[in-house]
Symmetry: C2
Subunit: 239 residues, 2 copies
DNA sequence: AATAACAACCTATCATACAGGTTTTGAGGG
DNA sequence: CCCTCAAAACCTGTATGATAGGTTGTTATT
């Protein structure tokens, strides 16, 4: 097998890349939606005239990016929008010191100034309640930093969701991993109960502004929140 | 081989996922920088006590996300920050209709309002020149839409680069693919030469503001540019 | 008609083989 | 002693075949 060469346009992008393109192309041309099944590996093998090894590596790559879902016995399916790949890129940038935590916070500030304003304008009552509840749970679990952090993250993701723009959600969620790695540092610099409660109060102010539907006020509180967070990180010596 | 089971904590996330984690973990723990070599597939095979197939699929997955570089004969190396994976996620969202072009433009507007302001503050003279040159080339190739588009994209990426925050660059570049698919539509709605030249003038205004180091003016021109672009897309019926 | 065993299909993983690249090494010549 | 260059060692890319185990639809039994 494998005598019939592809049209000799490009020299060698590798068979796997070709297969990946073929699969994404298939999704596009068939107009597949999340949940729809893809061809089996065997079918793809025949169609592309390559070994199953190549097809498998292609599927696996798409699965790693969370563009498709795979599981044993079942055919692969088109995946719902997921932040998996983006998170890994950001994490990679951080661990290889190509980007700094502060740079990530700069971007977060830019984006969340917007999501919070949009949330104030577009939130449903249910979304406003979810946001407020995350803030409340931060206060309730006040003695458990781990829990405060998770509710903090959920708070920001809930705001992004209330912006009703999934691209914002995608980006904000992609940054959550970085937050998980640095959050405690910021928390520790707020050494007194008072300072910590003030930070939680900041979240409640944001939630209130969203509930009131006041985008300007919400953005103001968010800006303040980020300025303090960044300051905390800098004080702690995070580059 | 393969009798010695992993500590039976998790049931079965799949050997490949485990391998992927092992590799990223290796990068982290060894403090590898871009260009540094990773262990060979054979070495990884021994270390993880799995077949080469599994290790290969893990490497290939990371390569698809552009976290590592692979090429025949050479060992894989840690990759420089690249937008590959992010682009694919966005594209996937668009083709599966989970996000709309307009939503992407909303995010772009938010981000580029910021990058342009930062560029005005932080740009080097060389960066200002590169931005101005892209604008100039848009005008010079005015009769060739394809060329105008590429210079337009380069213009925005140059501004992101001049913000001196690679995360912004990453995101802006990730959106370029979407731009390539919709740009022409916007261009066509500017039916007269006059309207098209006005759009190019908008870019020159932005470049000037950056050169002058005026972040407020730069952001204003950028906002105007995006408002017109979005309007053009909506006029053309892009949801 | 409900259900349980089964067949067909599919993915997960392993082992092996061979065809090219790339790097290392070492022998021979200057 | 150093340079050169070709063989050797190592590495990735792809193909093939085999087995285990999960999923699903079908059929035979009750």
């Amino acid at each position: 097998m494998q005598e019939q060469t592809d049209p000799p346009g490009e020299p060698n992008p590798g068979l796997v890349s070709t297969a990946i393109q073929a699969i994404t192309q298939h999704i596009r041309s068939e107009g597949l939606a999340p949940g729809d099944p893809l061809p089996s590996e065997a079918a793809m093998t025949r169609q592309l005239n390559v070994s199953r090894t190549v097809v498998r590596e292609a599927f696996r790559s798409l699965s790693a990016m969370r563009l498709i879902d795979m599981s044993a016995g079942r055919r692969a399916t088109v995946a719902k929008l997921d932040t998996g790949a983006m998170s890994m890129v950001i994490e990679h940038g951080i661990t290889t010191q190509q980007i700094s935590v502060q740079q990530v916070y700069d971007v977060r500030r830019t984006i969340e100034m917007r999501t919070v304003a949009l949330a104030a304008l577009r939130r449903t009552d249910q979304e406003a309640a979810a946001i407020a509840q995350s803030a409340r749970q931060m206060r309730e679990n006040f003695r458990n930093p781990e829990a405060v952090m998770e509710h903090d993250i959920a708070f920001h993701e809930a705001i992004a969701a209330a912006s009703h723009n999934p691209v914002f959600s995608l980006i904000v969620t992609a940054f959550s991993g970085v937050t998980r790695r640095t959050w405690v540092i910021g928390w520790r610099t707020r050494s007194s109960d008072e300072a910590q409660l003030k930070m939680i109060k900041g979240h409640e102010d944001i939630a209130d502004a969203i509930l009131k539907g006041d985008p300007r006020l919400a953005a103001e509180h968010m800006a303040e929140h980020f300025d303090k967070s960044v300051k905390a990180l800098i004080d702690a010596g995070i580059a």
